[in-house]
Amino acid sequence: MPEPVVVSASGLSKCYRIWTHSRPTSLSDRVDHLISAIRHPGRSEASERPRKETIWALHDVSLEVRRGEVLGVIGPNGAGKSTLLSILARITEPTGGSAEVRGRVSSLLEVGTGFHPELSGRDNIFLNGAILGMSRREVEEKYDEIVDFSGVRDFIDMPVKRYSSGMYLRLGFAVAAHLDPEILLLDEVLAVGDRAFQEKCLARIGEIVHAGRAVIFVSHDVASVARLCDRGVVLNSGRVAFDGAIDQAVAAYLASTPLGVDDNAAIEREGTGELRVETISITSAEGPGVVIPDRAAEIRVDFRGSRGIRSEPLRLEVGIHSTQGGMYVLLSTDFDPSRPLDASELGGATVVCHVPDLPLKPGKYTVSATLQRAGGEIVDRVFDKGLFVILPTDYFGSGVLAGENHRAPMLVRHRWDVEPRIEEMVDARVSGAAG
C-alpha cells in the first residue's frame, strides 16, 4: 500500500508586485517620484520612472509528497524555490491555488531564529524552541539532549552574544534537531557551519527521513540535494519543469543551467555586493565547458563592480563541485601569493586561474566562487555556475578510457612494481632446507 499523501499542492501561484528600477521604501522616495512626475508630466511614461510590475514567482505549481519521501526542490535563482517553501511553511500566503498539509510541520529555514544576543544559551533554547513550535514541557524533556548535541554545555549560562559563530550555529541546530515533525521543510540550512557540523546535520536529517517523515528540501547546492533526496522537482520561472527521480532531476536542472551567472539572481546570492561575479566559465583547448583531465584548463571569473572601489586585498576561492555531491577541488588566491587581488582592480576585470591538469573522474561539474575580504566578510558568493564536463580519456595510458564508470572521484597516475623482501627470502630458504 502506498504511503499517504501528506503535502498536496494544487495550482499554487504567487504574485509579487515589484518596482522596476528602485522600489520606494520610504515616504521620501514616494514624494520624489511624485515631484518628478509633476515636474515632467510628459516623461511620465518614460522608462526611468519606477512602476509597479507584476512578477509571478510561482505559477500553477502542483505537487504531492507522500510520507517517508524526501523531495528535493532545485532550480536556478529566482525560480520560486524559496517562495514555494514560504507558502508551505505558512510564512506568506499564496495569491492563488491551495495546498493541503497533513500533520505536524516544522520549517527550518534558518538556524537560531529569534535568538536574542543578550540572553543566555539556556534561555535561547526555550525561546527558539517556542518559536519553532515546541511546548515548554517538550523543551524541558529534551533540554539535556539538546545541550549535549550542541556541545556548548560549559557556556550555556553565558549570553549568546559572546558565542563564536560556530557555537551559535551548533546551539541553533541542536534545538532544531530535536523537533519531532511529521513534515520537515528545509531551506539551505546545511550551507552553514564547518564540514563536521554539516555532516552532523545531514546525519540527523537522515534519521528524520528513516523515521518515515516527509521532507521537502530546497537548495541550490545540487550536491546535497542529490545526496539527501530520492525525488526531485525542478522549478524554472515559477513553474514545475521536471518532477521525477532525483538523478534525472539533477540532470534536467544542469542541462538547463546557462554557463553564465543569471543576472536576476541578485536576490539569493550572498555577500555585500560591491563587486559581483558576472560569469564563470571554464575553457580548455577542447573548447568552452569541456575539459580533458590531463590537459591544461582555465577558469575565468568575470567581475562587475562600480568604479572607485577602495583598494583592499581580497581573496577569491573557486570550488569545483561534482554534481554527485561534494567539493572536490579548492583553488584559492591564498595558495598562489604571487598574484594578490586588490578590490580596486576587479570591477570590469576577469580573474583567470590556470590549472595545469584536472585529474578528476569524467562527468559533470559545477563551479562556485567566493570573494572575501581579508577578515572573512563575503563580498560575493555564487554556487552551481560554470557547468562543465570532463571527458573520458586514456588518462593512464593503458589503452582503456577512464570514464564515468570510474569508481573513485580522482585520477592519479601510478606505476606498479614487485619487490622481494630479503628476510622473507632467507626465511623461505631456511624452511625449505629444513623441509
Binding site: 508551505l88 499564496p94 515548554r136 539532549e145 548535541f149 523515521a211
Partner: protein, 286 residues
C-alpha cells in the same frame, strides 16, 4: 546514525491544514492563537528580561526612570514654570499620577510599533502568528506600569494621600489605555515593515503627544471651541484625567472620557484591520 538522537516512529497523521489565499478585515488564524500561548508568554518574558535583567542595575532601572522624570518635571513645572494645581495636591503626587499612565502609554506605543521590525526573523522564517509580536510587546510594558504605580503609592502616602474606593477604576482604565496602545501598535508596526520612516517619526510623535496631554500640567477649563476639539481629539486627555480622578479625586472628565473611549475603540478596530491586511504577506515586504 551515530548522532545520538532518537526519532520516534511516526504518530498518526495530525490535523489537515488548508493553505489558501484569504482576505477580509479579520486577522487570519485567530483560532490558532491559543495553541501559541506558550510562545506568547515566552515573548513577554523575553521582552521584560532583555530590557532589564541584563543591565547591571536590573530592575532598579524600572524605579529609577519614573523617579528621575518626576524630579525633572517637579523642578521644571513646579519651580521654573509654576503650574497651577487644583486643590492643595502637592505637585509630585499630581504629576506622578499622570506620569504612571503616560509611561505605560508612551512605552507601549514605542516598543509595540518597533516590535515587528525587531523580530523580523520570526516573520520571515517561521509560521508563528505575527499578531503575537505586538501584543506581547504591549503586555510586557504592563510591568513598567505596575512599578511606576507602586512608586506613586509610596510617594503619595508619604504626602498623606491614600487610595480610595475609586482605585477599582484603575484596571478598567489600564485596559482602555492598553486597547489604545495596542491599536496604535498594530497599525504602526505593520506600516513600519514597509516604510522605515515610522522609526524616525515615532520618537518625534511621542514627544508631541506628551506636550498635548495633561501629564505634567493641569488642563485649563476650555474657553474656546478649538481647545475643546484638540482635547477631545486626543484620547489620552480623557484617559489621564479619568486616571487622576481615580487616584486623587480630581474633577471627573465626563465628556472627554466618552470621547476617549470612542476614539480608543475606533483606533483599535483600524489597527486590527490594518494588521490583518498586512499580516498575510508581511514577510514579502520585509
Amino acid at each position: 546514525m551515530g548522532v545520538g538522537v532518537e526519532v520516534q516512529s511516526p504518530a498518526p497523521l495530525g490535523a489537515t491544514v488548508l493553505i489558501r489565499p484569504t482576505s477580509g478585515p479579520i486577522p487570519p488564524r485567530l483560532r490558532e492563537l491559543w495553541a501559541y500561548r506558550e510562545l506568547f508568554l515566552i515573548l513577554v518574558w523575553r521582552d521584560i528580561k532583555v530590557r532589564y535583567a541584563q543591565t547591571k542595575l536590573g530592575f532598579a532601572w524600572m524605579v529609577f526612570q519614573p523617579l528621575a522624570l518626576l524630579l525633572v518635571y517637579t523642578f521644571a513645572f513646579s519651580h521654573l514654570a509654576r503650574v497651577t494645581i487644583p486643590g492643595k495636591i502637592p505637585y509630585p503626587v499630581f504629576a506622578l499620577a499622570g506620569l504612571s499612565l503616560w509611561i505605560f502609554t508612551s512605552r507601549a506605543v514605542l516598543t509595540g510599533s518597533e516590535s515587528v521590525v525587531q523580530n523580523i526573523t520570526i516573520v520571515t522564517k517561521t509560521s508563528a502568528p505575527r499578531i503575537l509580536i505586538p501584543i506581547a510587546a504591549n503586555v510586557s510594558v504592563i510591568v513598567d506600569f505596575m512599578v511606576s504605580l507602586l512608586l506613586y503609592f509610596v510617594i503619595a502616602s508619604s504626602y498623606g494621600y491614600f487610595p480610595t474606593w475609586r482605585l477599582v477604576f484603575v484596571p478598567p482604565l489600564l485596559l482602555a489605555a492598553f486597547t489604545l496602545t495596542l491599536g496604535m501598535s498594530l497599525f504602526l508596526s505593520a506600516t513600519y515593515v514597509r516604510y522605515r520612516d515610522v522609526g524616525q517619526a515615532l520618537g518625534f510623535m511621542i514627544t508631541l503627544w506628551f506636550f498635548i496631554s495633561p501629564v505634567a500640567y493641569q488642563l485649563q477649563t476650555p474657553g474656546r471651541s478649538i481647545e475643546t476639539i484638540v482635547q477631545a481629539a486626543n484620547p489620552l486627555v480623557g484617559l489621564i484625567l479619568a486616571f487622576r480622578w481615580a487616584l486623587l479625586a480630581t474633577p471627573a472628565p465626563h465628556g472627554l472620557l466618552v470621547a476617549a473611549l470612542v476614539e480608543t475603540i475606533l483606533i483599535f478596530v483600524i489597527g486590527v484591520v490594518r494588521f490583518a491586511q498586512a499580516e498575510r504577506t508581511l514577510a514579502d515586504d520585509a
